[in-house]
């Protein structure tokens, strides 16, 4: 059984709105009761939620949304804390009765976070990581987003809630690594494929030379390349049988023959210029025949194809609006994808209404840029893999064609293709230049052959043949080497491609298998909470004819929210039909049902202002649902709930239940972000001690806000304990006049009971209230501070107010002497002991 934890204490100093220097805000929570924390706006309730988020997740969502230039790191620590440091201490109680774990998180002025465990946990950071469950900390935004999100975003968020975050992340990771484009790039599949194509072309060129030289040596055509070994032996035999060459070939394989040595010997024996010219002419003829072997028809097709690609690219570029707009669209896409702008039919720049979707428009524009970029890559790849590229390069560099260096164009053309800057005009010029060079080959070849015939006639026949045989033998051997090396390299690269394709097939299949299994698991879990969330939704909204339904897609992570019943109509969009409170009620129901069913290490749920969109009635139904059915131990499998709220009406509910066993209520007061925040129960004694200390030191200004807190607390304590009725608008009256509001409520109630003859207070108490304490509080506080008309009072006058309020409180208590000893007790009401 997994050990789970309640949150039983939270202490904060120097974090966000909580200054509390040397006097941490210290709140305790009961695991066996619903815990509420109430504070009016600006009193640090959000800072409590953020402190918990930072403690557990190490982040504050609100600050993560800030831009870097806004320096979010400057806003973690309270800006008025003299040390500019923060500390958060949280206590977690295991639900199996073992000892509590205390974790302390410190943040120094440099922004460094350190985590320690005063209770001695060996891995405090690891422990906090276990608490990172999707449901533990929930705020209003989380609920609102649940309905507003796209089905895919909702599906992914919801996976976390179902306890399937790891599955969802893993599924996305598998999709990322099996993405075809990522595989081509990361595994270099495209680069290797281009290399293989280039090698295949080199092999074909080597074959041309092999065929030509073989035919010249043996007089037979080279037909079946698979019998290459036989052809090599034939060439070796043919050359080895020439009388003058026998000694060079005897006992040697073709690759071991030193053709240069043979040539040198021939040169030595016959020092004629004519023989050397013949040798060079044969070499030229071979080189020219190699050029003539290029398939000009195929090259023409390649050129046409590349020309079409250039036209298509130009057309795509013309439909875009330049780099400046590209940056604009990319920025806009970022704004929309990060939910900074959620109104899809409104322009984020001028905020005018649009007739179509802004995200759709941006996507369409960026797609055009992406298509143009893809086309540029396509042109580059087509050029790199083309025979045209090799053909043009080979022709320019071929010595027999004698192309002047300054006329060569290959480097320039290649550079333009590689950079993507090739224009249609450049393309036309390159095609024309290639044609000029290829046409030149036939004339130069004919001239070389004529010259060879002429020289042969001038030289002795035996020597002519010998020179020819040796040169063809050298060419055959070189081509054989090229052919074999290129084939070997091609095979090695092809093997790398083959195994990568095998991986592609495997990882794609693995992704499908995982995704199918994840979808099935998710569906099963959704089915598992079906009854619960529907029943919770019905209880919160008190409706029976609106029935929500969550539908998980079969092949995607999309999660659709539908209404299986909407006042008799079926299968309609919840997003389109439900009002905000209904949507949030649905989201809360789904979240709470999931948290109950699939909860992890944290056995607590912190709800921050989740009832903002609810009216009083629905707030009540939600709170009752939590109190009666979801909170442990009433629900044996239930959770501990901690509800943060600033809602004045809801606070009446908290106040009413605050002293019952089911509920533990904290009310925050204070003057953040500069002053301290204290909760009432913790604060009264500490407040009084601080006030006395400040007044003794003559620090009147610093004491004044604390005196107001103390007065409010004591007066509200009387109202609660003696059950004094307050006007219906009491909670929403001007809070700066809370002291007089409380005094008015108390004195009116006393007057009423006096007139009815039901007042239980003794005569002395009534007289003290009327003639001493109320006039002292009104005269020394209300008339000075609530009207803002008076200057500060002296320290001794303010000390008198503290004494008056304490004595005033005593007027609502009596000595119970019914037992063995006397006990000081509150009156039950103004008419009952």
């Amino acid at each position: 059984m997994m050990q789970r934890y309640y949150l039983t204490r939270l202490s904060i100093e120097g974090f966000r709105g909580v200054n509390n220097e040397n006097k941490p805000l210290d709140i305790s929570f009961r695991p066996d009761a619903v815990n509420s924390v109430f504070a009016v706006n600006g009193i640090g309730k959000s800072s409590i939620f953020e402190a918990l988020h930072y403690a557990i997740h190490g982040t504050i969502p609100k600050l993560q949304l800030l831009q870097a230039q806004e320096r979010p790191q400057d806003y973690y620590c309270n800006r008025f804390h003299s040390q500019n440091t923060a500390s958060i201490l949280a206590e977690f109680l295991p639900d199996d009765g073992t000892d509590a774990i205390v974790i302390r998180i410190d943040l120094d002025a440099a922004g460094t976070r350190t985590v320690a465990s005063p209770s001695g946990h060996p891995d405090p950071e690891g422990f906090l990581a276990q608490l990172r469950a999707a449901f533990a900390l929930l705020d209003y935004k989380t609920f609102a987003r649940f309905i507003e999100n796209s089905p895919l975003e909702r599906g992914r968020t919801f996976s976390a809630l179902l306890g399937l975050a790891e599955y969802s992340d893993c599924r996305q990771a598998l999709q990322a690594v099996s993405d075809s484009r990522a595989l081509n790039t990361d595994l270099e599949i495209k680069i290797i494929t281009t290399e293989v194509t280039a090698l295949q072309k080199a092999v074909q060129q080597a074959l041309v030379i092999l065929r030509l030289s073989y035919e010249n040596i043996t007089g037979k055509p080279l037909e079946d390349i698979d019998k290459l070994d036989e052809f090599v032996a034939e060439v070796a035999d043919a050359l080895g049988n020439v009388e003058l060459l026998k000694s060079h070939f005897s006992g040697r394989s073709l690759s071991d023959i030193d053709f240069e040595k043979i040539k040198t010997e021939i040169k030595t024996s016959e020092r004629g210029e004519k023989r050397r010219e013949l040798e060079k002419t044969i070499w030229s003829i071979t080189a020219l025949e190699e050029l003539a072997a290029y398939d000009l028809i195929a090259i023409g097709i390649e050129q046409e194809k590349i020309g079409v690609l250039i036209d298509e690219r130009d057309e795509l570029l013309a439909s875009t609006r330049g780099d400046l707009f590209k940056r604009l669209y990319e920025s806009a896409q970022e704004v929309i994808s990060k939910d900074v702008w959620t109104e899809d039919e409104k322009c984020p720049l001028c905020e005018s209404e649009l007739s179509s979707s802004i995200s759709g428009h941006i996507k369409e524009q960026l797609t055009q840029y992406a298509d143009a970029a893809a086309k540029i890559v396509e042109i580059k790849d087509a050029w790199q893999a083309s025979a045209w590229k090799k053909c043009l390069s080979a022709h320019e560099m071929a010595e027999p064609l004698d192309v002047e260096r300054q006329k060569r164009q290959f480097s320039l053309v290649d550079g333009k293709f590689t950079s993507g800057d090739i224009s249609k005009k450049d393309w036309i010029a390159a095609v024309k230049w290639t044609s000029e060079l290829t046409e030149r080959v036939a004339d130069v070849l004919k001239a070389a052959q004529d010259r060879k015939d002429s020289i042969e006639k001038e030289l002795p026949p035996s020597l002519v043949q010998l020179t020819e045989q040796v040169e063809y033998g050298r060419q055959f051997t070189d081509a054989l080497k090229n052919y074999q090396e290129n084939r070997q390299e091609e095979e090695a690269l092809q093997a790398r491609i083959d195994i990568r394709e095998r991986w592609r097939a495997f990882i794609t299949k693995a992704t499908t298998v995982f995704a199918d299994a994840e979808a099935a698991l998710s569906k099963a879990r959704i089915k598992g909470i079906d009854m619960e969330y529907k029943s919770m939704f019905k209880e919160i909204m008190q409706v029976g004819d609106v029935v929500p339904d969550l539908c998980r897609a079969d092949d995607r992570e999309d999660l659709h929210v539908q209404l299986s019943d909407f006042h008799g109509q079926h299968n309609l969009s919840a997003r389109a039909l439900l009002s905000e409170s209904y949507r949030n009620a649905l989201a809360i129901s789904v979240f709470l049902a999931s948290a109950l069913k699939h909860s992890g290490t944290p056995r607590f749920v912190v709800l921050d202002d989740v009832t903002s969109s609810f009216d009083a009635g629905h707030q009540y139904f939600l709170m009752e649902l939590i109190r009666i059915k979801l909170q442990q131990p009433k629900n044996a499998d239930g959770l501990q709930f901690i509800i943060l709220s600033h809602d004045g009406l809801l606070e009446k509910y908290f106040d009413r239940l605050g002293s019952t066993p089911d509920w533990h209520h904290n009310k925050l007061q204070g003057s953040p972000p500069m002053g301290a925040i204290l909760h009432q129960a913790q604060g009264a004694d500490r407040l009084k001690a601080t006030i006395v200390s400040l007044l003794s030191a003559g620090q009147v200004k610093q004491a004044e806000p604390l005196i107001r807190q103390y007065l409010e607390y004591k007066l509200q304590q009387i109202i609660r304990r003696v059950d004094i009725p307050v006007p219906i608008d009491f909670a929403i009256k001007d809070t700066s006049r809370m002291v007089s509001n409380c005094l008015d409520a108390i004195t009116s109630a006393i007057e009423m009971h006096k007139k009815a003859g039901t007042l239980v207070l003794d005569a002395q108490q009534v007289q003290d209230i009327d003639t001493s304490y109320v006039p002292a509080i009104v005269g020394n506080w209300v008339s000075h501070y609530e009207t803002s008309s008076g200057s500060s009072l002296s320290a001794s006058a303010l000390g008198g107010i503290i004494n008056s309020i304490d004595a005033f409180v005593e007027c609502f208590k009596y000595d119970d002497i019914s037992g063995a000893s006397s006990i000081r007790k509150w009156y039950k009401s103004l008419s009952k002991r």
């Binding site: 976390a160 595994l187 093997a495 495997f506």
Partner: protein, 86 residues
């Protein structure tokens, strides 16, 4: 689990088991499709799982994962060459 079952999408996670246990079963089942590729995936599983965290994708880690896979694939090719040559 047979290859046919796996191909027809019958693999399922066990809701009573942990994520890591289910992943282990998943990787074992993949051996039916291609044992050598499944071994590469298993050896680099930790890197794969770290690619997406809380829904946030890390492209650098994706590149790192694929780079490790590429090295493993090339090693397989080399081993096959050595085997063929001996």
């Amino acid at each position: 689990m047979t290859k046919q079952n796996l191909q027809s999408g019958n693999f399922r996670f066990d809701d009573t088991k942990s994520f890591s246990e289910n992943c282990d079963t998943f990787l074992s089942c993949l051996e039916i499709i291609d044992a050598e590729m499944a071994a590469i995936l298993r050896n680099n599983w930790d890197t794969l799982v770290a690619i997406v965290h809380d829904g946030e994708r890390n492209s650098k880690l994706r590149g790192e994962f694929n780079s490790k896979v590429a090295m493993a694939l090339d090693l397989l090719v080399k081993q096959a060459d050595l085997k063929n040559n001996t």
